[in-house]
């Protein structure tokens, strides 16, 4: 079988609930790799995922996933798709190993195979030692890992993860993102993960699909979407004997005709302008002249956030 060019392709997909347009004529081509589905809460991410899984029929439009029609070939498709839902409630008193094994079986693994695969998947997500613990006694971080393990246990071609980092603290979030990236790279499993945090999508995704209130804001390769350098992020510190120096830096840069995003009293600012070189020089001079202490100067990539701002205004 030839691998389909797009993992997910959708054309003109709309979803209407009553008089609420959850998705508005969406057309997508999602290639292989890790794809981030970003948008605020209620922007239609979960609805899109349920359409991709064939759990809901779109009001209009058509979808093809792994070359299959989710509505007509749903069972066949879902045998090859792993899904980690957003909800964090699972059978409390079930050991993680039983839970993962059971879902592997339901997704088509023969019984003997399911047990070893469940154990392998739990080791892979770092819960090997904990695999016999009841789900109810696990922390949020561990539960998120169990969700990931059950999604990959039946060797899927595509994994859909709904908010896999929700409720995690920074350390746990990093670990989870690295894990997802690693699974996709090492086992060539395509992943689509949804998130309302733009930073994490920027960190691990190859492709991005950005939604806002059911409409497509942007889609494509991440590096193409956010690649443009147009400024720097500066983080400063105030020296006790030169009060107000940070605000002074901002003022000087503004006076030099640059676009400065800075809230008074904060130590961080974004400086935007036409030429990177001009910005660098202006920043250097402004800091040197106002006597602030430099903590950090970094090239500011165009952020996904800007895509949203651009789309909204």
């Amino acid at each position: 079988m030839m691998a389909p060019v797009s993992v997910i392709s959708a054309s003109g997909v709309s979803m209407v609930f009553g008089n609420n347009r959850a998705l508005d004529s969406l057309s997508l081509e999602v290639p292989s790799g890790v794809t981030g589905l970003v948008g605020a809460n209620g922007s239609g991410k979960t609805t899109l995922m349920s359409i991709v899984l064939g759990l809901r029929a779109p009001t209009t439009g058509s979808v093809s996933v792994l070359g299959l029609d989710p509505l007509r070939q749903g069972a066949e498709l879902r045998a090859n798709v792993g899904y980690g839902p957003e909800r964090n409630v699972f059978p409390d008193d079930m050991p993680a190993s039983d839970f993962v094994k059971h879902l592997a079986e339901v997704r088509g693994m023969p019984r003997s195979e399911a047990r070893t695969r469940a154990s392998d998947a739990l080791w892979l997500v770092g819960l090997g030692e904990e695999r016999f613990r009841a789900l109810g006694t696990m922390s949020t971080g561990q539960r998120q890992r169990v969700k990931l393990a059950q999604a990959i246990a039946a060797d899927p071609s595509l994994v859909l993860l709904d908010e896999p980092t929700d409720g995690l603290d920074p350390v746990q979030r990093d670990e989870m993102l690295i894990l997802i990236r690693q699974i996709s790279t090492d086992y060539s499993i395509d992943v689509m993960l949804s998130s309302h945090l733009l930073e994490e999508v920027e960190r691990i995704c190859d492709n991005v699909v950005a939604l806002d209130a059911g409409r497509l804001v942007a889609q494509g390769r991440l590096d193409e979407l956010v690649g443009d350098v147009e400024g720097v992020t500066v983080e400063l510190a105030e020296i006790p004997d030169v009060p107000g120096s940070i605000d002074a830096v901002a003022a000087r840069l503004r006076a030099a005709g640059l676009d400065v995003q800075h809230d008074p009293g904060f130590t961080r600012m974004d400086v935007l302008g036409a030429s990177a070189d001009d910005i660098a020089d202006a920043v250097r001079d402004a800091i040197a002249d106002s006597g602030a202490r430099t903590r950090r100067i970094e090239q500011r990539r165009r952020k996904l956030e800007d895509l949203f701002h651009a789309a909204k205004s």
């Binding site: 349920s50 899984l53 045998a79 008193d93 079986e105 023969p110 998947a121």
Partner: protein
């Protein structure tokens, strides 16, 4: 030989799967088995096992008592004759477990259905090859099988026990015919109990209310019908609405016996059971047509 030549990475655990996937039947089987385990509390803490095990034991008591008595005092032809006059027919034995059966319906169906709705398993199942129909088939398999443990298993035990005590059906032909009747009637009755209790449990997402609903449908309707027929002196046909007794009557009629309510025509009893099955299936379909998405 180079250093690399000696080294091999053999197994990194997680790997690709090249075998044959087990398809929808595998999914149904696994889900049914998993649901059964969860109802019986297998793999869960001991306190989850208490209630179901207790009810199953209570359901077995009549069969155990009769078989025990037969085994202890039986053997002698004279005593066996007396015993045969006292011990119940195969078609009447399950009636002795009626209270346990009614209680079990309030326990099994809510546990099998409502937990999945509450803890997100239903939507997870629907993301697998299972659909709402196949999911429900798996649950029916599980709940029906569990009901068979209180409806059918005691009678089977009774048959083998009595045969052992020399009080079973005479001749292999008769014996096999009784066995087939027990299996067929018990399976059908279990399925009716399963569907009715599943339909009653499906009205709510809270387990407690689901138990309440099942108990009300089972015992409430039974009490109402009882008062209507005896107090209000209405037609005996009102008994056809009784979801506890009708499957029992069906068992009796399959054996060709008169049952508890001989005044009711056999075809009406079959119709009453078919009616409960249809109504319950419709209810389930309606309650689950959008659930879990």
């Amino acid at each position: 030989m180079t250093a690399e030549g000696n080294a091999q990475i053999l197994d990194r655990g997680y790997r690709k799967f090249d075998g044959q996937r087990s398809g929808v039947w595998g999914a149904v089987r696994s889900t049914a088995w998993h649901s059964t385990r969860s109802v019986l509390g297998l793999g869960r803490k001991a306190r989850h096992k208490i209630a179901p095990v207790l009810v199953i034991v209570v359901a077995l008591i009549p069969a155990i008592v009769y078989v025990g008595v037969a085994a202890l005092v039986g053997g002698d032809e004279f005593i066996n004759d007396i015993l045969e006059g006292v011990i119940p027919d195969f078609s009447a034995l399950p009636r002795g477990s009626l209270a346990a059966i009614a209680l079990f319906t309030g326990l099994v169906a809510p546990e099998a259905l409502v937990r999945d709705r509450r803890d997100g398993m239903l939507s997870l199942y629907l993301s697998t090859p299972l659909t709402r129909i196949t999911y429900m088939a798996a649950k029916l398999l599980s709940v029906g099988g569990l009901m068979a443990m209180v409806v059918l298993v005691p009678t089977l035990f009774y048959l083998f026990g009595m045969t052992f005590a020399g009080l079973g059906p005479e001749g292999f032909g008769d014996w096999a015919s009784v066995l087939v009747k027990i299996l067929v009637s018990g399976t059908l009755a279990s399925l009716v109990y399963a569907l009715v209790s599943m339909a009653a449990a499906s009205v709510t997402d809270r387990r407690a209310f689901a138990s309440l609903s099942v108990i009300l449908v089972m015992l409430g309707v039974l009490t109402v019908v009882q008062i209507l027929v005896e107090g209000a002196e209405l037609s005996i046909n009102w008994r056809l609405l009784d979801p506890v007794n009708m499957p029992m009557e069906m068992i009796a009629r399959i054996f060709g016996d008169a049952g508890e309510y001989p005044a009711l025509a056999t075809e009406r009893i079959y119709l009453a059971n078919a009616g409960w099955v249809t109504a319950s299936s419709t209810m389930l379909w309606w309650r689950y047509r959008k659930a879990g998405a």
